[in-house]
Symmetry: C2
Subunit: 314 residues, 2 copies
């Protein structure tokens, strides 16, 4: 099994996680969570979004949040944006990188932005130019890369058309996102193998949701296809609007735990990451899908000298 | 990615799932669940155990359960046993196969049986002889093959010692069990690759718990190592006494869903399997860890024409 020595995890909880919660946290609290993530060792963090406050009210104060974030640790901070106003806000706030997102599926892009993917990619171009003039880094995400709730299967051809446009614009970092938890490991392996081979100069990222319990298997498949960068969300926040009550993004602490169990270094202090997951759970005020919160680490199990069991077990 | 066309799933919910529930179901209800599993297409089912009723009160009436089970579909029925009395009960009940279990870890075996693994293996020998004289099939499971809550890591050497004894006895079907959800995919791949290569004549089975969200990734790793037989439990029942509140066995319907998404045939009718998961949940009277219950199939998502989303999503 071809496994790397190290992978990089981007903590997207402050953006993809919190945007999905009814309870809106204060800028101070959001900054505290980001600072805790930095303290836990995360060196890539999606700190929020600069989109219209009506679209995502929970993240309306991203400027204020970022002002309170600790900048001392050489962290790769990024914020999600969708248009030029977002670029301007990111520049003004001093956020060094923005992420643009477009859907591989026309219907999903229409639902997200009320535009065709081609129009969104035109916006990308404009945003990229303006960003570059202002020394702002730009990455891209292709939503619904592994299936769309409206259109079903998404072919590699559909994705590649968008990759080519993104490359042409000049962006060199692309995430393939399983927006609604439809990906399976075979598909993940095939798609990432293909894009890695065709476009080795691109920095590839995988973004998995655990909606149907496939995120860990998809991560394993992506790792085997040569992907080294993964998004994850603290405490597993980030549920899907199409499956209310379902699990969200793969949980950061569960992902770190699994990878470290495989002897893949993440650079993260797992205990601090679990502590952060607990804090997040308490702040949002409901149970989450974090396995580390429910079951604890393998190492804890061993160290805690468990009591006698009550059944015949295999 | 080396993926087989078909794998076989054993429904262990009637044994490993229900033994763990406070609510004891009637023999009639348990038989109904088994008959539903047969109706859903499961052709390997662990129907209960013949152990001391004080050890596992929920399964004290396995004879009565099996009497009510539909025998028309050429199903590979098996029951867990631990001693000669169990063999006798299985013979009397007409159950065609028994499963013996021994722990790779001495401490866990002592906790399970109050015996050393060597003593348990002696019991195996006695049970096997008696079973064979009575045309009863015998399989074996090695618990804690991927880690023990008392002893931590379990080496391939420890497992192999037990495999050699089991082979010597004459048993040709062995399950490596991740009893407490400690396995990781790299370990799973390495251990199954080794035993598959060394002992190709053995029918290998994998038994994973999803305690720390690694069961699907472990399944993928085992498949890649050439394993074709997997245990799973309806609605994900089968929690671990060492991690109260944690997830149980990998859920049958989630496993079927994932495999079918990968175009791996299971022979199971997924809708009927999900229906069974709902029924089980309602019977035991609490929420379960079934992702299919919470999120539904990928196909349902597409067919249900979801409503507009409320956030900017990637």
């Amino acid at each position: 099994m071809n496994i790397p020595a190290r992978v990089n995890i981007c903590e997207v909880g402050p953006r993809d996680g919190l945007q999905n919660e009814d309870k809106i946290l204060s800028a101070e609290t959001k900054a505290e969570l980001i600072n805790d993530a930095i303290e836990a060792g995360y060196r890539t963090i999606e700190i929020g979004s600069f989109v219209h406050p009506k679209a995502v009210p929970a993240l309306a104060d991203t400027e204020e949040v970022f002002a309170k974030v600790n900048k001392d640790n050489n962290v790769d901070f990024r914020a999600l944006i969708t248009n030029l106003i977002g670029v301007e806000r990111a520049i003004d706030a001093g956020v060094p990188k923005v992420k643009l997102t477009v859907s591989a599926s026309k219907s999903h892009n229409l639902s997200n932005f009320n535009k065709n993917p081609e129009e969104t990619l035109k916006d990308f171009e404009e945003c990229y130019k303006y960003a570059k003039e202002n020394s702002l880094e730009v990455s891209a995400a292709i939503s619904t890369s592994f299936g769309c709730p409206f259109e079903g299967d998404i072919s590699i051809g559909q994705i590649e058309k968008i990759i080519l446009r993104i490359r042409e614009i000049g962006i060199t970092e692309i995430s393939l996102s399983d927006t609604t938890g439809m990906a399976n490991p075979v598909e993940v392996y095939q798609k990432f193998r293909y894009v890695k081979e065709q476009y080795p100069e691109i920095k590839w990222n995988a973004h998995f949701h655990n909606t149907r319990d496939m995120a860990m298997a998809n991560t394993l498949a992506a790792i085997q296809a040569g992907v080294f960068n993964f998004d994850a969300s603290f405490s597993g926040l980030g549920g899907c609007p199409y499956a209310p009550g379902a699990s969200g993004n793969v949980s950061s602490e569960d992902l770190v735990h699994s990878l470290e169990e495989m002897n893949i270094d993440t650079g993260i202090d797992l205990d601090k990451s679990i502590e952060l997951a607990h804090k997040v759970k308490n702040l949002i005020g409901h149970e989450t899908d974090s396995y580390m919160i429910k079951a604890g680490k393998v190492d804890d199990l061993i160290n805690e000298h468990p009591a006698e069991q009550k059944k015949i077990d295999d």
